[in-house]
Amino acid sequence: MTQAILPVEIQLLSLVVLVVFSAWVLWLIRTQQLHLRESLIWLLTTVAAIAVTAWPELLVRASRLVGVQVPANALFGAGLLYLALNVLAVTIGVSRNTTTVRRLAQECALLRAEVVELRARLDGRPPAAPAPREQEKAKR
């Protein structure tokens, strides 16, 4: 194939964007704003995107392999897959956090009940009513 798959300008622009993006991700990890575990999928998929941009023949060969006629369509497909993968990774993280938060909230409630009971026993009086939530009351 003699015809360029990607115009050079677009190729360069894409490379710059992708490199800046991965540099940003790396910076986020170094400054501990992003956990390595959550960012791994971003780094891997971005490296793949850089490879395809730098050597578009890879894309042509891959699209032929799966029978896609227009390489640009394969690009769109790969782009969608890239986003879907990363969104799924985020959703997994959110689910995991939900489980953790639920367990922590339950533990808080159990400990508070324990404190109320111990305090009552210490004072030698029956368990008193817990203080109303001042902040929430004030909000309303």
Binding site: R102, A105, L110
Partner: protein, 237 residues
């Protein structure tokens, strides 16, 4: 036999005193534990003044998380049976003994109070009854559990069931899924007739619009059941 009564409550301050009367009359020796699921009214204060243990969740977890908090409490305090009873006045404490009986005699690990095995009382709308019947059919097909009132939140759990539910309890409309979990864990299920009444104050948390989402969500959860392991089983912590 030490009995824990778990009362999940979200803004039920007005309904709790009536429940207290019922419990005093029909279950005087039980330890009552109200789980205040992030209420914005006086639920916690009212429950504490009634002399009950209060588990006040700092955020609203929904019925699944609230009920599980109760089971965690029952497990920690070594109760032999835990009874779930709603704080909204739908469930009559008069049926507590009937609900406890199969657990006490060792015939069942989980007992569901069913409004469809009894005559009269509040039976919900026709649409919801159809949904409940569908879930009943689905549960029997999926895991062989024969339960008529699949969404009933009036239930008793023996020691092994307390252990199971403390470790894993579903969220987001958990009742039918909890039945399937218990069945899958090899627990014995039983159902006893109870009469339910319409709630006296406030509205049910399940609106007509959500019924469809309810059915789709629960069906999917039941379908995916065998491949799912509880988080605590995967990562023991």
């Amino acid at each position: 036999m030490r009995v824990a009564v778990i009362v999940p409550a979200y803004n039920e301050a007005r309904n709790l005193p009536r429940l207290a009367e019922g419990l005093r009359a029909h279950a005087p020796g039980c330890d009552v534990c109200v789980v205040d699921d992030g209420s914005t009214d006086d639920t916690s204060r009212v429950a504490a003044e009634l002399g009950w243990t209060v588990l006040r969740l700092p955020v609203n977890l929904g019925i699944g998380g609230a009920v599980q908090a109760g089971y965690l409490w029952a497990r920690e305090h070594g109760h032999d049976v835990a009874v779930q009873i709603d704080g909204d006045g739908q469930h009559d404490p008069a049926y507590l003994e009937a609900l406890l009986a199969p657990v006490k005699t060792g015939d069942a690990d989980v007992v569901i109070g069913s409004r469809f095995l009894s005559e009269g009382g509040f039976r919900s709308t026709a649409v919801r009854r159809a949904g409940i019947r569908y879930l009943s059919w689905f549960l029997r097909l999926r895991c062989g559990a024969r339960i008529t009132d699949t969404t009933s939140g009036f239930r008793a759990a023996g020691r092994s069931a307390i252990e199971l539910f403390a470790r894993y309890y579903p969220s987001d409309y958990p009742e039918p899924e909890a039945i399937a979990l218990a069945k899958r864990a090899g627990l014995r299920l039983a159902e006893v007739p109870v009469r339910m009444s319409e709630r006296t104050h406030g509205r049910s948390s399940i609106t007509a619009l959500r019924t469809l989402y309810y059915l789709v969500k629960v069906s999917l959860a039941l379908l995916l059941l065998p491949s799912r392991r509880s988080p605590s089983e995967v990562h023991p912590s």
